[in-house]
Symmetry: C2
Subunit: 203 residues, 2 copies
């Protein structure tokens, strides 16, 4: 019994042998569709077809279309959280500007790795019930930023972290949506926006 009830959005992914491959194929297919055709095209039948799996198999592991999306969102937040936490840890103590750079770089890497998928997942996340695990990951990311600010003596860190995340998100989203792919250029602008908000002397 590996948690299989509540037929709503939590998935029931028991795994034994080849079934793992089936689950992965489903997730990868869903990601590809989301990336290339957007969430309007994401139908369970298409996902199954692209994954090379029958719909029956799909529904054996994901009780709902939303469960598939939720799993993709969770995986994305997990990776983003881990990247940010690692970046913050590596840069901890090197001073505000260096630490900001590290976090910005992690954020940009995330957005530039697969811009359209990242965007689609963020849009999708809005209308999903947002399971506890994903919510915890988002909170964790905010905590990372708060920690960085506090470590550098910035007061009212939670409120400021909120704004900085919003600003960074807005910039990255607008730029990637416009087709920008230049990491260094975006890095400079993010830095300018964040340090500017913080009132640093700037570069």
């Amino acid at each position: 019994m590996t948690a299989k009830n509540t037929p709503i959005n939590p998935r029931k992914t028991p795994r034994q042998a080849r079934s793992r491959a089936t689950c992965d194929a489903i997730l990868e297919a869903a990601a590809r569709i989301l990336e290339r055709q957007g969430d309007e095209a994401l139908t369970t039948n298409l996902v199954a077809e692209v994954a090379g799996v029958s719909i029956g198999s799909l529904y054996q592991y994901y009780p709902t279309k939303e469960a598939i999306m939720a799993e993709l969102v969770r995986a994305m937040r997990q990776q983003m959280h881990d990247d940010m936490a690692a970046a913050a840890r590596a840069a901890a103590g090197s001073g505000l500007e260096q630490e900001v750079d590290a976090l910005v770089a992690a954020t940009l890497r995330h957005h530039l790795r697969n811009p359209s998928l990242a965007h689609a997942l963020e849009v999708a996340e809005e209308r999903l019930p947002l399971d506890a695990e994903t919510a915890a990951l988002k909170q964790g990311m905010a905590k990372v930023v708060v920690g960085t600010l506090e470590r550098n003596g910035i007061v009212d860190a939670p409120a400021i972290a909120f704004d900085l995340i919003a600003i960074g998100h807005g910039l990255a989203d607008a730029a990637t949506s416009a087709g920008e792919r230049d990491f260094d250029c975006l890095q400079r602008r993010m830095r300018r926006a964040i340090l500017g908000y913080l009132g640093s002397p700037q570069v």
Copy 2:
């Protein structure tokens, strides 16, 4: 003959007498549904029902569901554009900070008037073909910001305007999505973000 071909997204809204009221009722119903239940709930049948109009009538004026959304988006961009242009005109020559404040206020008024509708329309806009008129309005808004920057001697104004709009959008979106409704508080933070990016001495 009042432009009625191209059955795709441009609407065919001939108006004579009571038909105007029908069109308005349809748009208002669509806005209410979008605002309260999100775009997933926006079906043509529901729109007609809420508008107190038959689906036949709906399709007489809007050839497509997308046409209704496009019209709502166009109207919203129109209002936003006019507000921003008026604000910029009124504050022109009063110095960078005052002019920024005026533009920020116009933006915030827009977002706070009906946060969920504004957000839904912006999300909807992304996947719509974006007709020429709406595109022109968006360009016009960018021009307003560019003009304000140039008037105050800021170089590379178009690129900076792009970033400032992205930043403002990100902040307003995150805050309203989180339920914030305090105009003054948001105004201060927007100001801080924008003037910070511009490298002004800050408040």
